[in-house]
């Protein structure tokens, strides 16, 4: 039993890492908005999905004009991800301006329900547009990075099996890590980041210190949504097939990751995302071996969520969260 787990471990780590970084970047979008507005932006999963669709559209247009074959794949990829993240960034800003700002002084529940409404709206708008041409909303994108890489992990330790992955895995991993590091730098080391943290701590006082609160909130939505959209492109690159409902399950899991790490805490969201991704992969690969077939891979989510509950029982503020002192 243990031998089987160790043997599959390298592959599980590779796959868990892929899924984990996707969760981590999406989780950041949830945590940033919560940190600053105390609003759970349920539309964030759909922004991720919109990013994937915008990216696919750009990719399909590029390949239809023959641009794809004339430039290296990595350049095409950079163009796609920049366009998609700019578009989703402005989409997020627009949603905040239209749907959330008029409700800023309304009770929290009302904004929450509005967020759910926005997410339905986005799902169906994207579905409608995707269906226009073919009548089928499951869209497959041509794959950009297709080389298979064979990682000889068995050379390190004979018990390990080999790990196999596509080059797209490396692209996803590197881009996600760049985004995470850049965001961490942006929030902790720049003026805008400081303003953002100030607004998150106390909106009224921050405005007294000549911080333009509305602008800061807009920037927060822009950054969070741009990251979400860029992750959508990464998802599309890795899995190759998207539909308008990918944002729902993924959004819920990313939100869970944010809670696990301590909602409002950006580094917590990163760790939470990686942890959930890895746990899910581990459970899917090993659960039936561990329980001798009593629980199959279909219980992987229960495994991941049970760990979430266990963490929240002992540390209700999440792994990295600080216990909030009630503002008086």
């Amino acid at each position: 039993m243990l031998a089987h787990i160790i043997q599959t471990l390298p592959q599980v780590i590779v796959d868990g890492l892929t899924l984990g970084v996707v969760y981590a970047v999406v989780a950041i979008g949830y945590t940033m908005v919560y940190g600053i507005l105390e609003l759970i932006n349920f539309a964030h999963g759909e922004i991720f999905m919109s990013g994937a669709f915008i990216g696919t559209t750009v990719l399909l247009i590029l390949s239809s004009v023959g641009f794809l074959s004339s430039v290296p794949a990595i350049l095409a990829f950079i163009i796609i991800i920049v366009i998609a993240s700019l578009a989703t960034g402005f989409l997020g800003m627009g949603i905040e301006r239209v749907a959330y700002r008029p409700l800023r002084s309304a009770p929290k529940l009302i904004t929450l329900i509005t967020a759910i409404g926005v997410s339905f709206l986005l799902q169906d708008i994207v579905r409608f547009i995707a269906e226009l041409k073919t009548g089928n909303y499951i869209v497959s994108a041509p794959s950009l990075f297709n080389d298979k890489i064979h990682l000889k992990t068995s050379a390190i330790l004979p018990q390990f099996g080999d790990a196999l992955f596509k080059s797209s895995f490396l692209v996803v991993l590197i881009v996600a890590i760049i985004m995470l590091v850049a965001l961490d730098f942006f929030v902790n080391r720049t003026k805008w980041g400081m303003a953002m943290r100030a607004v998150a701590q106390d909106r009224e006082t921050a405005s007294l210190m000549s911080i333009n609160v509305n602008k800061v909130i807009s920037v927060t939505f822009f950054v969070g949504s741009a990251l979400g959209g860029a992750t959508g492109v990464l998802f599309m690159i890795q899995y190759g097939t998207i539909d308008p409902y990918i944002g729902f399950i993924l959004g819920i899991k990313a939100f869970t990751a944010a809670v696990l790490g301590g909602i409002g805490n950006i580094r917590g969201a990163m760790v939470g995302g990686l942890l959930i991704g890895f746990l899910e992969m581990f459970a899917a690969a090993n659960l039936s071996t561990l329980t001798h077939g009593a629980f199959g891979a279909e219980y992987k989510d229960i495994f991941a969520f049970a760990i979430l509950i266990a963490v929240l029982i002992f540390k209700p503020e999440g792994l990295f969260g600080k216990a909030v002192v009630e503002k008086v």
Partner: protein, 396 residues
């Protein structure tokens, strides 16, 4: 003040008049266009959503059958119409559509559904309304095993499709170690179980039986588990949205073994999603390759000319199911001296059909409503193109 009241009074009157006239015009419609009595045939299939490709095919097949026979019905003084309903592959939506269909008295029969999970609850409503239903595609055993009088199907059952696949996998492909994945739906798990049990009986070793969640895109966990157990064949019970991805991700993990699935993979979307990985994929389908028979070629051309689309797996069954229903309605009309028959008479006439010549198969119902002549076909993808190549046809 007074003028405002007058204005509102006029407005109300205008609105009321509008409503009344709306009513009367709709009544005029149902009494028949050009003095003919209207007979409506409803289709229920997913026209939107993940399985819209297959659902649309059923609707278009029915539409073709109806336009073919419109003249024959017009001669007897009936105006034949198609009313398509979208069940969204959702049992709740299917049932609420079924209620609507039940209350529209001019509907004499239903063609549908695609999904067994939707067929089962919706057919309870049809039974209450004594409304005949013929499904071109619902394969779960429970669809007909409940013994409802109005439920029929032209396709084969899962407990025939699963074992036929197992037989091919074990005896023809010589698979010894089989890894089974299913999608936890009524269709997917039913098919996978039937396959697993039959394969076990034939002496194959089932080295894993795992479930996945519909709607997810990353199945690497289950696949690396499969890869570590080194199977000769992977069987997937489920639909193409997940199946296509499983095929693709398995190939990425270096699993170049045959992958087999049920009729849920029998769609051009499987090829679209899986791309080149689709080579060496086998599937059992209850719908045969129409281009192999002369009548089928004619059907393909007519379909293409009318709708501008290629046929999907269930297009011909949609056509056949509607053909059966129309034949039953015709005989019920004749029995009723040329007058509009009751729904009950139509359902009895449907069940009484014994040898209707469809495009590929004959259709004849047994006392449960299963088609006695239904066959299971085995296909293989040799290249990334749909349809796959038919390997074998298995009859009961």
């Amino acid at each position: 003040m007074k003028s405002k009241k007058v204005v509102s009074l006029i407005a109300t009157a205008a609105l009321a008049f509008g409503i009344i006239s709306g009513c009367s015009s709709s009544k005029g419609g149902s009494s028949g266009s050009g003095g003919k009595q209207v007979i409506k045939i409803a289709t229920q299939s997913p026209l939107s959503g993940g399985s819209a490709t297959l659902g649309e095919a059923i609707k278009l097949g029915a539409q073709l059958a109806i336009s073919d026979q419109k003249k024959a019905f017009a001669k007897k003084g009936f105006d034949l119409q198609l009313v398509p309903y979208d069940d969204q592959a959702d049992p709740k939506k299917g049932v609420s559509n079924a209620q609507q269909i039940g209350s529209d008295k001019s509907i004499l029969g239903v063609i549908g559904h695609l999904n067994s999970g939707v067929t089962i609850p919706s057919s309870e409503i049809y039974e209450k309304n004594q409304l005949a239903m013929i499904s071109p595609a619902a394969t779960a055993t429970d669809v007909t095993d409940r013994g409802l009088k109005v439920v029929n199907r032209v396709c084969a059952r899962d407990d025939f499709q699963g074992p036929a696949g197992a037989d091919f996998a074990v005896n023809t492909l010589k698979a010894k170690k089989i890894f089974v994945i299913q999608d936890k739906t009524a269709y997917g798990s039913g098919l996978a179980e039937a396959f697993r049990d039959a394969a076990k009986k034939l002496g194959a070793d089932i080295i894993g039986y795992e479930g996945i969640t519909v709607g997810e895109k990353d199945f690497n966990g289950v696949i690396s588990q499969a890869a570590s157990k080194k199977p000769d064949l992977i069987y997937f019970g489920g639909v193409y949205a997940e199946g296509g991805l499983i095929i693709k991700q398995a190939r990425d993990k270096g699993l170049d073994i045959p992958i087999m699935g049920g009729d849920g993979l029998d769609s051009s979307s499987t090829v679209q999603i899986a791309g080149d990985s689709v080579k060496n994929v086998y599937l059992t389908s209850v719908a045969g390759d129409v281009t192999k028979v002369a009548a089928g070629k004619k059907f393909v051309d007519a379909y293409k000319a009318k709708f501008g689309k290629g046929v999907e797996s269930y297009s011909s069954y949609g056509y056949d199911a509607t053909g059966v229903l129309l034949k039953a309605i015709m005989s019920a009309i004749d029995k009723n001296n040329g007058k509009l028959p009751t729904r009950e008479a139509v359902s009895q006439a449907v069940r009484a059909i014994q040898d209707y010549q469809g495009i590929i198969n004959k259709v004849g119902f047994d006392n449960k409503g299963d088609n006695k002549f239904a066959k299971v076909y085995i296909f293989k993808f040799d290249k990334a193109a749909y349809p796959a190549v038919q390997q074998k046809a298995i009859s009961k």
